[in-house]
């Protein structure tokens, strides 16, 4: 391969083709990042004719040491993430396994499971507020019929977050499809060979399916973590962080600081801390992946 000249014709065209993204990167990513770092070191509150004052790391210090709500929102977000991501992955996998059968009308089932993840936003949030209504919603109606206790869901600080987590399970269709694609990529020869060796259902699952699926699990896990830490719309519409501070999640608190109290510096600092958290978790998962993710090139017994 001959050495690429810096200004080869192809290179010029390359830059031309990627220019929309590169320009966008400069305008909407790089410059805002720099600005955001700067803003997070000021006390700017958007008032007219009042210049922002440089206060160094004060915002970060206040967040970490003087702000109870910061820690509450962080705790709530971790609660949500560690509830919805594992449960979501398990459910998505179960559904994918069920959909991986050769049955008549399987596409109808696939549509039913995938559809809810396609719709989102305000309409769905309003639907679920009603579904979880303690007195008239369908969830408690069914629980009552079965003779089970009927919690207050979104009106009860102890049950509000579980309600949100349950709601998130309705939208596992996306990761389910990715699992399905992964399942369909496992060569059937493996299963046949295992059958000949007399392996039962569980053994097949544990020694073939799971390892072969580990790259997909990895992908869904990373996407799930990144997504769950940024949950906002549902909480904003359904609970506004309540009851009390039970569902005050991180991005909601950030939004309040930015667009309700106009503490722009403070909110920018929050955004950076969020980035660090997500980055750290993702790197942890990536690092750990060496131990449990098998790629097709390293088939294990």
């Amino acid at each position: 391969m001959h050495k690429k000249k810096i200004f080869s014709r192809e290179s010029v065209y390359f830059h031309f083709f990627i220019s929309p993204w590169f320009l966008g990167f400069l305008i909407f990513t790089l410059w805002p990042i720099i600005q955001s770092i700067y803003i997070s070191s000021t006390d700017w509150e958007m008032q007219l004719n009042v210049a922002p004052k440089f206060i160094g790391m004060a915002n970060y210090k206040n967040l970490l040491f003087n702000d109870e709500l910061f820690w509450i929102s962080l705790k709530n977000t971790f609660y949500y993430a560690f509830g919805s991501v594992p449960l979501g992955l398990i459910l998505a996998l179960i559904l994918a396994l069920l959909l991986n059968q050769k049955l008549r009308g399987i596409t109808i089932f696939r549509t039913i499971f995938y559809l809810p993840s396609v719709i989102s936003g305000v309409a769905v949030a309003l639907l679920w507020v009603w579904i979880f209504n303690p007195q008239f919603g369908i969830v408690n109606a069914i629980l009552a019929k079965l003779g089970l206790p009927t919690p207050g869901w979104l009106t009860d600080p102890a049950w509000a977050m579980p309600a949100l987590i349950i709601m998130s399970l309705w939208g596992v269709g996306g990761s389910m499809l990715i699992f399905l694609a992964g399942l369909q990529g496992i060569p059937t020869e493996f299963y046949e060979a295992a059958e000949i060796d007399g392996a039962k259902l569980w053994a097949k699952f544990r020694y073939i399916t799971l390892p072969m699926l580990s790259p997909t699990i990895f992908f869904n896990l990373v996407m799930g973590i990144i997504g769950s830490f940024q949950i906002f719309t549902n909480v904003y519409i359904m609970t506004s962080g309540g009851p009390g501070t039970a569902t005050l999640v991180y991005v909601l608190y950030l939004f309040q600081n930015a667009f309700l109290y106009f503490k722009m510096g403070y909110a920018s600092a929050m955004a950076w801390i969020l980035f660090v958290i997500i980055l750290t978790l993702t790197l942890l998962v990536i690092k750990s992946s060496a131990f449990w993710v098998y790629y097709e090139t390293e088939v294990k017994r």
Partner: protein
């Protein structure tokens, strides 16, 4: 043979309960949407409304300028999706087919931006648009899509383009075609599954977007459906829950129809983009 029958029965036995669980939210909302208000708050809750109030859909629609909101949302979505598909495919073509000394660095840069939470840049971007005088217009909701359309989409396109044999390109080059012609006449037409996938993902994102219209739009006539639904939420406990459900369902309809129609391509697109790893 018997084993097969058992397998089939078990298969359905397991699928049907889950399917019912997943369908219940829809069915319950439809039931509420069709009720007169004094039946919505009954205990124990009823499933079948008596009488069936089909007019709730019309009443709900008229309760706020939803026609206007629908139009606004459509305009924003169409223009933003157009921008997304065009610009992300062009950029992806560059990464997939063209060589340059800095290609790898830039690609890593691209991938790393996928990890950046939007909140980090949200405030400076808001200020940027404010200084440009673009507050209260659709521009902040449309223009960014034309600048690359999102790292995720570029990534998907690139993965797909890589699976197209280079021989097609070479054949065209021999005929004297330039890079752009190859992109437009050869690569794109062969990329139908991923084009459809990204179009659909993009439509869904912009149609349901709540946060951006919330912070950028002030005038009633510019609001989108997502904001419009907020009018049904009142501070006081008494809400017209039936109308709210009705309009929520109408708001979901376009996406549902779109998905049902384009299902086949869509799912193939995800698989073919090699998302397994």
């Amino acid at each position: 043979m018997k084993r097969r029958i058992i397998q089939v029965i078990f298969g359905y036995l397991l699928l049907i309960p889950f399917a019912i669980l997943f369908l219940i939210p829809f069915l319950w909302s439809i039931s509420t949407a069709l009720k007169p208000l004094n039946q919505a708050f009954l205990f124990p809750p009823q499933w079948i409304p008596k009488p069936v109030m089909w007019e709730n859909f019309v009443k709900g629609w008229k309760a706020a300028p939803f026609g206007r909101f629908f139009l606004n949302t459509t305009i924003i979505t169409v223009l933003a999706v157009l921008g997304t598909v065009l610009s992300s495919s062009i950029v992806a073509y560059g990464f997939a087919r063209l060589e340059s000394f800095d290609k790898n660095i830039l690609f890593i840069l691209l991938l790393s931006t996928m990890m950046l939470p939007g909140q980090v840049t949200m405030i400076p971007i808001y200020i940027l648009f404010k200084n440009l005088g673009w507050l209260n217009t659709f521009l902040p909701l449309i223009v960014p899509s034309w600048f690359g359309g999102g790292a995720f989409n570029i990534f998907l396109f690139r993965q797909f383009f890589l699976t197209i044999p280079k021989e097609f390109d070479d054949a065209a080059k021999v005929d004297g075609a330039g890079y752009f012609t190859i992109f437009w006449r050869i690569i794109l037409p062969l990329s139908k599954p991923v084009l459809i996938t990204i179009t659909i993902f993009s439509i869904i994102y912009h149609w349901n977007d709540f946060l951006n219209p919330l912070i950028y739009l002030d005038k009633l006539e510019k609001f989108t459906i997502a904001i419009g639904l907020r009018y049904f939420q009142d501070n006081y406990q008494a809400t017209y829950i039936n109308l709210m459900m009705a309009v929520s369902l109408i708001a979901l309809l376009p996406i549902l129809i779109l998905f049902l129609v384009a299902q086949r391509f869509f799912i193939k697109g995800i698989v073919l983009s090699g998302l397994k790893g």
